[in-house]
């Protein structure tokens, strides 16, 4: 009998100039219907100016168990932050 509609991840651009942001997911038979359904549930109160839909199974995610090795390298690189440098007050805003 019925097979379940595929799952789509929904991304909404909230305002002009902002990134699309993941807001949730829904089932729909195809991309076009996914956009219509996303319009109906995720933009009911002026939440968006643009919608992206992506098949859930097309997303590759980093593995939670490799969080350490994946993100650690940048932790040691404190000089990447502007606050690492002491700039004398006389120099003014920088």
């Amino acid at each position: 009998m019925s097979s379940q509609w595929p799952l789509w991840e929904i991304f909404i651009r909230g305002q002009h100039g902002l990134n699309h942001r993941h807001v949730g997911s829904l089932h729909a038979p195809d991309a076009e219907m996914a956009i219509r359904n996303a319009r109906d549930v995720y933009t009911r109160r002026n939440e968006g100016v643009s919608i992206w839909v992506v098949p859930s199974n097309a997303i590759t995610a980093s593995s939670p168990s490799e969080k350490g090795p994946l993100f650690e390298p940048s932790n040691a690189k404190v000089y990447r932050h502007p606050t690492f440098f002491d700039i004398p007050e006389e120099v003014g805003h920088m």
Binding site: S2, G24, P29, R44, P64
Partner: protein, 332 residues
């Protein structure tokens, strides 16, 4: 409340926990969110599926008693408002089903369990909405009780559940206000209208109190769920807050809460009130409420009557995809 009797699994004293389970509990204690693909105890996963599933079912079954009145709303404006409210509830169901699906259960499986009676929904939706005043009482009391429960759940430990709750809470205050607005109109109307409002309050008061689930002393599953932060407050705490919030609102309407024992308790800074009839609650949960059969029947019928439509759209999508693929091959 929307999940009133959720059996939690795998409660364990700390000395029996594995190192993995201890590390997991410590993450929760630190206030970290647990995300879908991360390690979690089987009991946590199962309890969450049950709770989020029950919550989702409540949202969509909850559409039925109100949907009932869309065509009979007294004005076009009221009709548009009620329609928007009932549509919101469909969205709430969707957010919650999606959150449950991240735990490895399929949407179809959840619906099958609802339709076969293996999963529950809130007892409140097994009471009838007899007239327009009931729609006011539902928004005011039922959505009001839902908000009480859902606001703290925004801080729940499971990321997708917490995010669903945040979205839902944004919409709920519209629901409660539209209900109270109906009550204000009725209570300030003709004596007959005011009597209808009072009658609706009389009928919905105790069922609304039941929404928070059994009294803490009879609620055996709370401790583990609270340790996991999938339950934030006890049933009695929330019920007390709800009563304290609602009493002055009823007073403003000039309506009386149908409880002769209702009395201000200076010491606790809250109202003393009568417990609902818990035997009625357990009977309704077991399937013997006034509308259980009708509600489940309507759900199953909608699902079965919609099968051709779901299949048709899927067949269309597959054909269109095949056509696109053929065109690509031809172009190469």
């Amino acid at each position: 409340m929307y999940a009133q009797l959720v059996k939690s699994e795998g409660a364990k004293p700390r000395e029996e926990m594995t190192p993995e389970e201890i590390a997991f509990q410590e993450r929760i204690d630190r206030g970290e969110k647990i995300e879908p693909k991360e390690w979690m105890p089987e009991g946590y996963r199962k309890t969450l599926i049950r709770q989020i599933g029950q919550h989702a079912h409540s949202e969509i079954v909850g559409q039925l008693p109100e949907g009932n009145w869309i065509t009979r709303a007294p004005t076009l404006e009221r009709k548009a408002i009620l329609l928007a409210k009932v549509q919101d509830e469909a969205g709430h169901g969707l957010y919650l089903y999606s959150a449950a699906e991240t735990l490895g259960v399929s949407r179809d499986e959840l619906l099958e369990k609802l339709h076969s009676g293996n999963m529950k929904y809130s007892s409140i939706f097994n009471y009838p909405t007899l007239n327009w005043a009931d729609i006011g009482a539902v928004g005011w009391l039922v959505d009001g009780a839902a908000i009480m429960n859902q606001v703290p759940l925004q801080r729940t430990s499971y990321g997708p559940y917490s995010r669903a709750m945040i979205r839902i809470c944004k919409e709920e205050s519209f629901h409660q206000r539209q209900g109270y607005d109906i009550m204000m109109k009725m209570a300030a109307g003709t004596p007959e209208q005011k009597a209808m409002a009072q009658d609706a309050l009389n009928r919905f008061w105790y069922p609304a109190l039941m929404m928070f689930g059994p009294s803490d002393k009879d609620s055996v599953h709370s401790a583990q769920s609270m340790a996991w932060k999938i339950k934030i407050n006890t049933n009695d705490e929330l019920r007390q807050k709800f009563v304290d919030q609602t009493v002055p609102q009823a007073k403003y309407l000039g309506l009386s809460i149908p409880d002769e024992s209702l009395a201000w308790n200076e010491e606790k800074g809250g109202w003393d009130f009568s417990e609902p009839d818990w035997s009625e609650f357990f009977a309704v949960i077991a399937g013997n409420g006034p509308c259980n059969e009708e509600r489940l029947g309507a759900r199953v019928k909608a699902w079965e009557d919609g099968a051709w439509f779901r299949d048709g759209l899927m067949a269309h999508a597959e054909k269109a995809e095949a056509r696109r693929r053929a065109a690509r091959v031809a172009a190469e």
